[in-house]
Amino acid sequence: MLTIKNLHANIGDNKILQGLDLTLEAGKVHVIMGPNGAGKSTLSKAIVGHYDVEVTEGSIDYKGKDIVKLPAEERALEGIFMSFQNPTEIPGVNNAYFLRTALNAKLKHEGKEELNAAEFLRVMREKLSSLEMKTDMLSRSLNEGFSGGEKKRNEILQMLILKPDVIILDEIDSGLDIDALKAVAEGINSMQDGKRTFLVITHYRRLLDYLTPDYIHVLKNGKILKTAGVELVDKLEEEGYDWIKAE
């Protein structure tokens, strides 16, 4: 689905990723864990084409082509989605209007018919109730004055609406209480269809308990140093990352 080879990436003058290899398989849930500052967020930013990250070497192959030079919006339209750690606030931009614009941009890109306001609202209502979100979330300004939990639910709402192929969840569990965590996890699970790929970045197992991870990758020193099954999580929770060295 998505193959990263020998990826080197900088943020400013700092070399963060240093020859990272990773293959995301269709239909699988990949989890990235690792110590602070290891480059987890840089990896997700490199995949989505964030302006902070400069890729100096290597490739990211997706749907048959290297996307390293592709503008962010084109990667998004091709089905790559990232939930933000700290979703930004955009005053005055109505949440529903934003969601509909994003959805219609995607539908147009796929050569499908755009949804009118009534059809869109019907879709929205259904998704909102599945996330236990209030309908007034639609009429509020995008992320403005949202609580941490509301912002994260809103990220998941966007994921449900846009139906991406590659879903990157960057610390979606941070700052969530247990109810929000469950709602978010259910949203994620509902997207599993055997084809979509998930890349979950987290520090904690509590989110993973609600998901069905296929692979645990340890990112350290700018590279993936270890890949194993879900059993690795227990060991990491107990022993930390010190014992992991390049294989």
Binding site: V48, H50, Y51, P71, A72, E73, A76, L77, F81, M82, F84, P87, T88, I90, P91, G92, V93, N94, Y97, F98, T101, A102, A105, K106, H109, S141, L142, Q158, L162
Partner: protein
């Protein structure tokens, strides 16, 4: 964010820059008493009007152009302007309007025929110096509403004109108002009788077409006791290398319990990115809340003009009267705007609201200048002001000059101001959701202007949004 992408995103071509080739009656450039006599004679005006014009001209000659605004422009040569241009063969009915003029308005999206009438909007169209057509007059007459050109009003309703013209903006109020008083060529007159809620939106569309011509229109709106009217004006001009002067005067009067809602979408030709060409827009707009419980609300969306000098104001004389000013001013290319409002509180329990949104891009300079004045008589006056600036790119500027003079201690006056940039983070967030960079910029800008756009009548809100997109978005993609 790369600067050239943004520059492209904010430098749309001016879409209304076409010129219509029609036969006009235009006098030679220059201004003296003869010019004024010529204008007055062309309009077949009564003597009293000519006398007023000549008096204003004499006063204007003794005044000097004000330069306190934060604006830079080449000196205006008042002798190089033609002060009168009219399409030949003034029409008596729509059928007689030169088809080329009708076509021009059609290009502007302002059809003067049934289409607009179906939308229930009465239109007056001012082409260069004269009003070419006022639609719907008969329908309005049934309600006693007078909606006609100011030239017709001088002929047909002299008592109202004599009573109210200059009563809000005195002839010598300022240099440009004095010039206008001497040479005004046309404009719109509205009178809403007691207790009448005007059954439709009234609208005037101003178009400068002829070369080297100034436009000096005068608008006078009177809302008698307990009446209501919503009035809209729009404007545009062809693309020219030379600067053209527009110096209008607008006077509004509300009697007891009356309300006027005045909306402007200003889209004069802005000039190019080096500041070549474009309209010099020096406008005096003022409303007088004369009666108790009356209300005047100004909403303006200013996207055009090379230079904008404009402060739609409210004099809150009646007790409990309300003044509002909602403004979006966009300066891109090399545009400069010094705009804002004055709220003069004289009556008891008067309140005013100011919401100003300035957007600057490329080399645009945006200045908010506002005065809130509370007289001793204005006990319990309230004002809330909010001035926000949005910067796009790093060559533009925004400045805020709020003035406050209060002689009443019980009043409540609040002022909030903010300056923000479209952040890379906001743009990226939207782009990560598949929204193109120019759509993202436009979405953020629209969000920023929302409070003001929501004040516009629906048809015009759509027009304003489209215009903002054209101004800021343009040729990218």
């Amino acid at each position: 964010m790369e600067n050239n992408t943004l520059d492209k995103a904010v430098s749309a071509d001016y879409q209304l820059g076409f010129e219509v080739d029609i036969e006009t009656d235009t006098i030679e450039a220059g201004l003296d008493e003869e010019t004024i006599r010529f204008i007055s004679a062309k309009k077949e005006e009564p003597l009293w009007m000519l006398e007023i014009r000549l008096k204003a001209f004499k006063k204007w000659q003794k005044m000097s152009e004000p330069h306190w605004a934060h604006l830079n422009y080449e000196p205006i040569d008042y002798q190089s302007i033609s002060y009168f241009s009219a399409p030949k063969n003034a029409p008596d009915s729509l059928d007689e309007v030169d088809p080329k003029i009708l076509e021009a308005y059609k290009k502007l999206g302002i059809p003067l025929d049934e289409q607009k009438q179906l939308q229930g909007i009465a239109v007056d169209a001012v082409f260069d110096s004269v009003s070419v057509k006022t639609t719907y007059s008969e329908e309005l007459q049934k309600h006693g509403v007078i909606f006609c050109s100011i030239s017709e009003a001088i002929q047909d309703h002299p008592e109202l004109v004599k009573k109210y013209m200059f009563s809000v903006v005195p002839m010598t109020d300022n240099y440009f108002a004095a010039l206008n008083s001497a040479v005004f060529t046309d404009g719109t007159f509205v009178y809403i009788p007691k207790g009448v809620r005007c059954p439709m939106e009234l609208s005037t569309y101003f178009r400068i077409n002829a070369l080297n011509t100034g436009q000096f229109e005068r608008t006078l709106i009177i809302a008698d006791e307990g009446s209501y009217v919503s009035y809209n004006e729009g404007c545009s001009a062809p693309t020219r290398d030379e600067h053209q002067l527009h110096a209008a005067v607008v006077e509004l009067i509300t009697m007891k319990d009356a309300e006027i809602k005045y909306s402007t979408i200003q889209n004069w030709y802005p000039g190019d990115e080096d500041g070549k060409g474009g309209i010099y827009n020096f406008v005096t707009k003022r409303g007088l809340c004369k009666g108790d419980n009356s209300k005047i609300s100004w909403t303006q969306v200013e996207t055009g003009s090379a230079i904008t000098w404009k402060y739609p104001s409210c004099v809150l004389k009646g007790d409990n009267s309300v003044g509002e000013f909602y403004s979006v001013a966009v300066t891109t290319l090399a545009q400069q705007a010094d705009t804002g409002t004055k709220m003069i509180h004289l009556g008891k329990n008067t309140s005013s609201t100011i919401v100003s949104k300035g957007i600057s891009a490329m080399k645009g300079q945006n200045i908010y200048r506002g005065l809130v004045k509370v007289a001793k008589s204005a006990t319990n006056a309230r004002n809330h002001s909010e001035c926000d600036s949005l910067l796009i790119g790093d060559q533009c500027g925004a400045h805020t000059f709020p003035y406050l003079e209060s002689k009443d201690n019980q009043g409540q006056i609040e002022h909030e101001a903010s300056t923000s940039k479209i952040s890379d983070e906001q743009l990226f967030y939207l782009r990560q959701r598949g929204i193109s960079e120019e759509d993202a910029v436009s979405m953020i800008v629209h969000g920023f202007c929302k409070e003001v756009f929501s004040q516009l009548p629906m048809e015009y809100a759509v027009e304003a949004k489209a215009l903002l997109n054209l101004t800021l978005e343009g040729s990218v993609g």
